[in-house]
């Protein structure tokens, strides 16, 4: 099995090299695509907007409202589900709160939060290595003129993406993820959107979101907090085109132990590897979970629980999960 995997890998590497070589000659550098991407990332962080969008994956459809404000220093954002039970996410730079039952819980807090990650040059070169970027049609989305970009993967380790950005600001209006048979896996599209102008800041205030009867639970000091670290865990057969972006140690809600979190990216899709010492093995169900473009795979690795999360096909997640080993010294 392992041999087959290696053979498959070297085969993929060969095909990848071939494609890379051919494409180097075949097309000019996708400068235009890159500049659109930069524009989109910048717009996502710096634009004030408020609108309603539809998210669909398989038979599942959901409507949500989003408000985003950038005051020149801080980014404030609120995502609110409009269907079914109340669901809410509040984000302030690197801090994320989510509404759970009757209280807001701090879900993530990055120390020395990257308030403005933007698109790094190496990320752009990764993207060019793994995807063929080409401009698509110009079309109207949610009442705005939009410019579309297609990201076609160079191998089967990742999905194809198509994005529609507003022509003036570059704000993402619609995004579709497609599998290798060009079937839509998930899509996201604004149905109503207000860009810039007078957006009520109350929409994104934490207190307002939390409501009156809410116990504030922000001070649970260690919750969700992460810091850079080196755990010694390695992914030996990392799928071609992915690079390690960062590694942090974090505490998660309902879990007292530390969790090592390794992050990989191919420029467009991310893979997270979580490893934690397990206290109660009976509470754990190893297995596979899939939601739209996201695949989650959990399994036991000696005394540890390994969980791989990624916006990539199931076999890519499996390849990562099967090749995680401890390579450090303690």
């Amino acid at each position: 099995m392992r041999n087959n995997m290696l053979r498959l890998n070297s085969g993929l590497v060969f095909v990848f090299l071939l494609v890379a070589t051919v494409s180097t000659f075949a097309e000019p550098l996708p400068v235009e695509g890159n500049s659109w991407l930069k524009k989109m990332v910048l717009a996502a962080h710096k634009t004030d907007y408020s609108g309603t969008f539809i998210y669909q994956s398989g038979n599942y459809v959901e409507t949500s409202r989003i408000t985003h404000i950038f005051d020149g220093v801080n980014e404030l954002e609120r995502l609110e589900g409009l269907d079914g039970e109340r669901s809410e996410i509040i984000r302030k730079n690197g801090q994320v709160w989510c509404y759970l039952g009757d209280r807001m819980v701090l879900a993530a807090k990055q120390e020395g939060a990257r308030t403005f990650p933007a698109l790094l040059p190496e990320q752009l070169s990764l993207l060019a290595e793994n995807y063929v970027t080409s401009p698509g049609e110009e079309i109207r989305v949610a009442g705005f003129q939009a410019h579309s970009i297609i990201f076609q993967p160079r191998d089967k380790m990742r999905y194809a993406h198509k994005m529609w950005a507003q022509s003036d600001t570059g704000l993402l209006l619609k995004a579709v993820v497609l599998d290798e048979h060009s079937h839509v896996i998930e899509q996201y599209v604004f149905t109503q959107l207000k860009i810039g102008g007078d957006i009520d800041r109350k929409w994104v205030s934490e207190r307002k979101a939390a409501g009156k009867n809410i116990v504030e639970n922000f001070d649970s000091n260690a919750n969700g907090r992460s810091r850079p670290s080196e755990s010694g865990w390695l992914v030996y057969a990392l799928p071609a085109g992915f690079k390690k972006i960062t590694e942090v140690t974090r505490r998660m809600r309902d879990n007292q132990g530390l969790v090592a979190h390794l992050v990989y990216s191919d420029g467009l899709a991310g893979i997270s590897v979580f490893i934690e010492k397990l206290r109660d093995k009976t509470a754990v169900k190893a297995g596979f979970y899939s939601k739209g473009v996201i695949q989650v795979y959990s399994k036991m690795l000696d005394e540890n629980l390994l969980t791989v999360v990624g916006e990539v096909p199931a076999h890519t997640v499996m390849q990562v999960a099967e090749s995680v080993r401890y390579g450090g010294h303690q």
């Binding site: 879900a107 996201y188 309902d254 992050v263 467009l268 997270s272 169900k285």
Partner: protein, 166 residues
């Protein structure tokens, strides 16, 4: 051996054990038959529209016993000819189906295992209690969050709405 195969299909064997057992299945036709039978039972229990069954052996047996008729065609007996044609068509169809099932069987075993593992997921299967935490933590660093901000958290929000993992 049967028990081991059953455990393998539940996805509870370690990687080393899996490799060992798959080797055995490849070498022993009996084990291979058990493997196929278990899958058939599993398929039948899940009550799908179609149940995969390897019928090629039975068809080849029947074909062997079929007499080969070399007599010239009798124009008067056009009805019999019609039936003969439809019989041939049916046999062709069955042969094609069995060929299809043979094709399916030739998928390498390790791929079948991977497939079996992947197919076990259900929309609401909780990997464990903390799946939403993992999704939240993942979004924090995911490039998609850079592109569309908090709306990429929709995958975690909608997950909770399904009530899974609670």
């Amino acid at each position: 051996m049967k028990q081991k195969i059953s455990i393998l299909m539940d996805g509870e064997l370690t990687a080393e054990e899996t490799e060992l057992l798959l080797g055995k299945i490849k070498r022993h036709p009996e084990a291979r038959k058990d493997w196929q039978d278990f899958h058939l039972i599993g398929d039948a229990l899940r009550q799908p529209d179609f149940v995969h069954k390897d019928i090629s052996a039975a068809i080849f047996e029947r074909l062997k016993n079929e007499p080969t008729v070399l007599a010239p065609h009798n124009k008067r007996n056009s009805k019999a000819g019609y039936f003969a044609m439809s019989a041939v068509a049916s046999i062709m169809a069955i042969a094609f189906l069995s060929w299809l099932s043979v094709q399916i069987d030739t998928v390498p075993l390790h791929q079948q295992v991977l497939q079996a593992k992947i197919d076990t997921h259900q929309p609401n299967l909780p990997v464990n209690e903390q799946i939403n935490d993992y999704l939240l933590a993942h979004q924090e660093f995911s490039p998609s969050t850079d592109m569309r901000g908090a709306s990429s958290y929709i995958r975690t929000v909608s997950y909770r709405q399904n009530g899974a993992g609670q």
